[in-house]
């Protein structure tokens, strides 16, 4: 009975983690096309959600380790108990929500590893964690990922501007916006094939540990389905705060830069997952955008924001480890401890959502206008007004991110 309860709790929490993973990472693919007006915000998150859903079905592997070798699990090592997974997941979910509240793009996988490491240290002792693997799989890649992606983004942006430079004729740089749709879609699809798999692995291994599945089984279809839907729903709900940080907080992005940045992200993510040196998608995407920001003449990076993001990356692991360790400490009191963990975790999650409602990201004023208008307009009029405002915002974004020659701008204003 108690064992079943923990397994059920782990599955519910893992699915919720998958959801936070989705909305945390929408920005990686869709921040730049939204910022340049290549896609409307709603369309962008819908495209990303569909591609994540498809991606989750395209790639399902037999899960062998939960922590990717960071914890000495399996034969000859420690057994990761469902209560450790549960504590680790609480740490990961809470850290994901805290970074989302502050608008920081941080790696969901690192949060999960951190939570598990914390829980394993309390549950099975310090020697259960392979700190060498931790260093080579998490710490060093966190330094190298933005570097590689940054150089790629910088070189690609320079090249794009150099090739399309025209002294007199009409430039077609606004055409990069069309390209952005494709490169961003690639990033979204890659995310679906990579990240949904991790949660499927956690759930499958928990079921195996709980005795519901034989050792070495592939994820059952319902697990694949639930994980795919959760990550897609998370993606569709759009982590707007993080989209704002990556789309306009780090640097002002033009269509050319957006295309170059997403092309670099897609290339780096694909190369890293097929040539055996895993890099975090979130860190790659942030690095590409910074590189693209430096690549445009006159482009500026807001180093304050960039510095805070990098600090958040390095705090991710210890912070989620601390929460994971605390939860495992409580969970060691048996089933009552697990229930206390579940209730406390839920309370923190609800509290974070309550705070996020109070400080809605940059939309507060727009909402006030909406409320005032809603009272006097019919639904049809309200929709028309919303559409008009949306169109105006889109037009403004396109104008700002456009780099067509001045002749064309003149024609537009005289028309």
């Amino acid at each position: 009975m108690a064992a079943t309860l923990i397994v059920v709790l782990v599955i519910v929490l893992a699915v919720f983690f998958d959801f936070t993973n989705g909305f945390h990472d929408t920005a990686n693919a869709m921040a730049t096309p939204i910022a340049t007006g290549a896609l409307r915000p709603k369309v962008a998150v819908a495209v990303a959600a569909v591609l994540n859903l498809v991606g989750a079905f395209l790639s399902t592997a037999v899960a062998t380790t939960i922590s990717g070798g960071i914890i000495r699990e399996g034969p000859g090592g420690v057994a990761i108990t469902p209560s450790m997974i549960f504590a680790g997941l609480i740490g990961a979910v809470i850290w994901n929500l805290v970074t989302w509240l502050r608008g920081f793009p941080s790696s969901s996988s690192h949060a999960l590893f951190g939570g598990l490491v914390g829980a394993a240290i309390v549950g099975a002792g310090f020697e259960s964690v392979d700190f060498g693997v931790l260093l080579t799989k998490v710490i060093f890649p966190a330094l190298l990922a933005p570097l590689v992606a940054g150089v790629a983004g910088f070189a690609a942006t320079r090249l794009a501007y150099r090739i399309t430079r025209l002294p007199v004729e009409k430039s077609h740089r606004s055409g990069f916006r069309v390209g952005q749709i494709f490169t961003s879609s690639m990033v979204a699809l890659a995310h679906g094939t990579n990240d949904a798999q991790k949660t499927m692995g956690v759930i499958t291994l928990t079921l195996i540990a709980g005795g519901a599945l034989p050792t070495g089984s592939a994820p059952p279809f319902w697990v694949v389905l639930v994980c795919a839907v959760a990550i897609a729903a998370g993606t569709y709900s759009g982590g707007w705060r993080i989209i704002q940080t990556l789309g306009s907080g780090l640097t002002d992005i033009k269509a050319t830069q957006g295309f170059a940045a997403e092309a670099s992200t897609a290339a780096t993510v694909l190369a890293s997952s097929h040539l055996g040196f895993a890099l975090s998608t979130t860190q790659v995407a942030s690095g590409s955008i910074m590189g693209a920001g430096l690549g445009r003449r006159g482009g500026r990076i807001r180093w304050g924001t960039a510095g805070r993001i990098v600090i958040a990356w390095f705090v991710t692991l210890p912070a989620s480890a601390a929460v994971g360790a605390l939860c495992e400490l409580v969970a060691r009191f048996g089933i009552a401890g697990v229930v206390i963990d579940a209730v406390a975790g839920l309370a923190v999650i609800v509290a974070i959502f309550a705070v996020s409602r109070r400080r809605t990201a940059n939309t507060t004023k727009a909402l006030e206008v909406d409320v005032a208008l809603n009272s006097v307009m019919t639904r049809q009029e309200r929709r028309a007004a919303e559409k008009k405002r949306g169109d105006e915002i889109l037009a403004a974004r396109r104008r700002l991110s456009d780099e067509s020659s001045l002749f064309e701008l003149g024609q537009e204003s005289s028309r």
């Binding site: 395209l58 990069f176 690639m186 290339a267």
Partner: protein
């Protein structure tokens, strides 16, 4: 310790692939603006876009294990 060979390989391939795809697409856009020899320039532009599209398809092929595993 850290596997520097595979890291350098990943770095080189990432930077090379990103530069190649972006250069192709940019060259296509550049050719769209060529006024002289309109027909030749347009053909070149579409050829550039086609090769860039092939690179995208290769990326999708890489992502789906069923195609190559």
């Amino acid at each position: 310790m850290i596997d520097w060979t595979s890291f350098l390989l990943v770095a080189a391939v990432s930077i090379g692939a990103a530069a190649l795809v972006v250069a192709l697409f940019a060259a296509g856009l550049r050719l769209l603006s060529v006024e002289a020899h309109r027909g030749v320039a347009l053909t070149g532009a579409y050829a550039c876009f086609a090769v860039a599209a092939a690179a995208v398809l290769f990326g999708i092929w890489l992502m789906v294990p069923a195609f190559h595993a």
